[in-house]
């Protein structure tokens, strides 16, 4: 990487108050922790894969855009496809997590419906991207819309988990339950991101500096969520308890 590229990268990171490299470090830390403490548990392994995709997103996909290796529609496609894949993997990791946490049959049916809906929407989006009349604005707007849907689904799942806390036998202390830590972090993250991503498209076009500040806030919330997941990983019990 030459000096100009590094300089461009640092300038970009400065706009988001260096939260992106901190987020990347957090992903690496979570990945190493998950590698050491997966205990062959399915839910932990899916989170491990999620951390790996996060690392790839911020080490491969992001720099490709920042360093303007691609431009125009191609850059938008690469950026939004990588973000969408990241969101899909994130949701799949949470799907397996909530599948074990949630006990009611109807809730599990809703969980499955959420996964199927998200997959169908993403599939339709990937097909639409190849349509020539699909503009860069459309690509960005619909990608943000997928974000909103994903966070909305996560929000509903978090509420379902909180509801089931009161229908199950309260044998274990709440703060000793790894699942409570993960769900609380996810709850804050998903609820605060819904309004942000709903306004993001307008902000990018008219108030980019403000958008960058709020995007940094998004990274901070994601870092907090990753910390709660890593705290859960430190518990020797199943993370779905």
């Amino acid at each position: 990487m030459d000096h100009e590229a590094i300089h461009r990268l640092i300038l970009f990171w400065r706009k988001t108050f260096f939260t992106e490299p901190i987020l990347l470090s957090t992903f690496i830390f979570c990945f190493v922790l998950a590698l050491l403490r997966h205990y062959r548990e399915k839910e932990r392994i899916f989170f491990l894969f999620y951390f790996l995709i996060g690392i790839l997103l911020f080490t491969v996909a992001s720099p490709l855009i920042i360093l303007r290796i691609f431009s125009g529609k191609k850059a938008a496609i690469i950026s939004e496809i990588s973000n969408t894949i990241f969101e899909l993997v994130e949701f799949v990791a949470f799907y397996y997590f909530f599948k074990k946490c949630i006990q009611h049959k109807k809730s599990k049916i809703i969980l499955n419906l959420f996964l199927i809906s998200l997959c169908l929407i993403i599939f339709a989006y990937f097909i639409a991207i190849n349509v020539p009349s699909y503009t860069v604005d459309n690509i960005r707007e619909h990608s943000l819309f997928i974000n909103v849907i994903e966070f909305f689904f996560l929000f509903i799942l978090c509420l379902t988990y909180f509801y089931e806390l009161f229908t199950s036998v309260p044998k274990i202390d709440l703060f000793k339950r790894p699942s409570f830590l993960i769900v609380t972090g996810t709850f804050f993250y998903s609820v605060l991101m819904i309004p942000f991503f709903m306004l993001a498209n307008d902000m990018i076009q008219y108030e980019e500096p403000t958008y960058r500040i709020l995007f940094a806030f998004h990274f901070i919330l994601l870092i907090i969520m990753l910390i709660t997941i890593s705290k859960a990983f430190l518990c020797k019990t199943r993370i779905t308890i």
């Binding site: 909180f162 806390l165 009161f166 036998v169 309260p170 044998k171 202390d173 709440l174 609380t184 709850f187 804050f188 609820v191 605060l192 309004p195 942000f196 306004l199 307008d202 902000m203 008219y206 108030e207 403000t210 709020l214």
Partner: protein, 262 residues
């Protein structure tokens, strides 16, 4: 542009409100969960105390019954044997040597019977035996003792792989079986009794069936003394989440099935 400014300010206000709302929501969840947990632990404690109280009550009842049984046995059998032995020895006529040997032999027989009866009572009432030897061994000895009495034919079977239960459970099961046998000896006039222990995957079935004269359940339920015995069996099984099914018809014998989970 102005619209976007307005949107951003609204967004920040909404975010702040959401953060406050969600924090209060999480605090409320934690508080309500803790409250529910304390109520749950309190219920568990109460159930534990209740169980221990019932167990103690059952033990005291069993002890009381044991003492009553010992008292009856001493009065009816041992007392009688020793009285006869004493009578024989008191009426020894040294002038008639022919009768002396007969009377001494008879006295010895009565004293031996009294010693044997005392030994049986001791073994039957010794709870320590059950705790140390286990239900199977104690039942083997008890059935051998009952067979030796030759009051009825006793068919004793064990099906499945025996499981070592908690000593308290085994003691209560043994006492229930003893009570059933005492009832058969006292009331049923049976010629054949079948005792079966079925060790299943998650519970034990104990069935005692006789071909005695049977009884009318309604009549027994109205008689407090007889009903107490049947109720005791049911209460003791219920102490360990088990149940007792008693079926009887006049002239057709009685069958008792006790099911206790491991």
């Amino acid at each position: 542009m102005q619209n976007t400014h307005y949107d951003i300010i609204s967004f920040l206000l909404v975010c702040t409100l959401l953060i406050l709302l969600m924090t209060s929501f999480i605090i409320t969840i934690v508080y309500l969960y803790r409250k529910k947990q304390l109520a749950y632990f309190k219920t568990i404690e109460e159930l534990k105390l209740d169980y221990e109280k019932n167990l103690l009550h059952t033990h005291l009842e069993m002890q009381e019954q044991t003492l009553q049984h010992i008292s009856r046995e001493i009065h009816d059998n041992i007392g009688l044997s020793l009285t006869l032995a004493k009578l024989n020895l008191n009426t020894l006529d040294w002038n008639h040597t022919a009768t002396i040997k007969g009377k001494i032999d008879s006295s010895l027989e009565q004293i031996s019977k009294a010693i044997a009866d005392l030994s049986d009572i001791s073994k039957g009432m010794n709870s320590e035996l059950i705790i140390h030897q286990g239900l199977m061994e104690v039942l083997d000895k008890e059935t051998t003792r009952l067979r030796d009495l030759s009051l009825f034919e006793l068919d004793y079977r064990v099906n499945g792989s025996p499981v070592f239960l908690d000593s308290q459970k085994e003691l209560v099961i043994f006492r229930i079986i003893q009570e059933a046998f005492n009832n058969i000896i006292k009331h049923a006039k049976a010629t054949s009794v079948k005792l079966t222990l079925d060790y299943n995957a998650d519970h034990i079935d104990v069935s005692i069936a006789d071909n005695g004269k049977g009884f009318c359940k309604n009549a027994v339920e109205q008689d407090k003394k007889s009903n107490a015995g049947l109720n005791n069996m049911q209460k003791r099984a219920a102490l360990f989440n088990g149940r007792t099914i008693i079926e009887s018809k006049i002239g057709s014998g009685t069958s008792i099935l006790i099911t206790i989970p491991y």
